[in-house]
Assembly symmetry: C2
Homo-oligomer: 271 residues x 2
């Protein structure tokens, strides 16, 4: 296929690198430095977003806050081109699709992959190896467009799982937003130990790592999906309160039972 990538950060850059052995890939980034870096490793780049059309697929891999405006800018001229976006929240894209031209084809394709560092410099062809992509239909998805999304996910090295925008965004509230919120709450609370804070071992460091998420992304993850996020945080506070009550009651059996339940759930993840 002719695949175009808009946005050459970690995800977009890695997709360009992963897809070029099997497809014709062209890419754009608003940053000239990012375009130069991509060209330096042999990726074909264009200097304007519009120059990505026509293509079979345009993958929108901008920062989350720019996804909807980028899709909107492409939508009117896209014709039969399938627009995929890798954004981690679906509600805003779902709303855009409702009012998009009838001929537009828009599908969400959210890879569950990432790294601690951002930008094209961190991009790598194997970032998606074995990782799931959540393929999320919109009001402007058809079977052919869904199939294209699945092909792109697999050709990038991953697997494709289909779910609704509602199921996706609820899951992300639990899997992305809630960890960010607890990591941030724990970091803020840790300030209470004052000069002893730097003594924190790997447990505290791992558990608070997400508190260092870039501020714009962190804000989006908490505020772009407020209904599901508030529900997830309320569930989390309830779980934490249960542990606190068991400790306050000196009820070792209850503490142990809660810990065993948590270990069982954690054990379902491979690492």
């Amino acid at each position: 296929m002719n695949i175009a990538v808009a946005g050459l950060g970690l995800i977009g850059g890695s997709l360009a690198l992963a897809l070029r052995p099997s497809h014709r890939v062209r890419a754009f980034d608003i940053s000239e430095a990012a375009r130069d870096a991509a060209r330096a490793v042999g990726i074909d780049t264009v200097d304007r977003l519009d120059d990505l059309l026509p293509s079979d697929v345009v993958i929108v891999a901008t920062p989350l806050a720019a996804v909807v405006t980028t899709l909107a800018a492409l939508c009117d001229r896209a014709g039969a081109t399938v627009l995929l976006d890798v954004g981690s929240l679906r509600a805003a894209v779902a709303a855009l699709a409702e009012t998009a031209p009838a001929a537009a084809r828009i599908v969400g394709m959210h890879p569950m992959a990432g790294a601690a560092t951002a930008g094209f410099a961190s991009a790598r062809a194997d970032l998606f190896r074995g990782r799931p992509f959540l393929i999320v239909p919109t009001a402007r998805s058809d079977a052919a467009a869904m199939a294209v999304a699945g092909t792109v996910a697999r050709d990038a090295g991953g697997s494709a799982t289909v779910c609704s925008a509602e199921v996706h965004d609820r899951a992300m509230a639990f899997l992305l937003s809630a960890p960010l919120a607890v990591a941030s709450a724990l970091a803020v609370t840790g300030a209470a130990v004052g000069p002893l804070l730097p003594l924190a071992g790997p447990g505290f460091r791992d558990t608070t790592r997400l508190a260092g998420t870039p501020l714009d992304l962190a804000e989006q993850l908490l505020t772009a999906n407020p209904g599901h996020v508030v529900a997830a945080l309320a569930a989390l506070r309830t779980a934490l309160q249960e542990i606190e009550s068991a400790v306050a009651d000196r009820d070792r059996d209850a503490v142990r039972k809660l810990l065993a339940q948590a270990a069982e759930v954690r054990g379902r993840l491979d690492s």
Copy 2:
């Protein structure tokens, strides 16, 4: 010095390996397999706890639940031997010291180091390189015993920081118990996404890693220090509630302010 180590797990084993270039080291473990493993790498072992005496120092590095009974067993026969324990909670040792023989010398020496894996097989001589040891006096500590603890910490590759049992245990509630509790609460809550749970990315995985803490240790970390732990968990719930309220109010400025505060605290840690 003649240094004896009781308990050849990750910490005790690593101390034996780290200290033997500069001291005469002998070690004991209740597990014959652990003693064999230590002997296989050239550590001098004895077959009974009592055989560790006389020594200049005995380092008690048993599982947390056995620290007090091991110290008590050594206390009566220890004479001038300095007893150091590496336990991560001080209140129970402080209580023991109050009633120990007047001649006993007991000092806490808690290394802020660890690893995701346990046991002598994971022990390594450089585990403590650059890591702080908290040196905590008891009612049976004197200047000479405190100095011995400092020497052992430094000769193991670390640095020595002195604090009271009260300051130590409060800090551990924030730095060890609270992360365990939030990791466990987050894991329990994550079960809500059902079949999508395995899609969790590195953020959720890191933040819930401590939910996989061995159950006996996890129970101790929450229940052996209940006053400080309840206070830390209450502070944590308050911080989490503030984030939740800001999200529920769609107050992006407040969300951003809380996130920035968390990032600032997290930034005080090097990694």
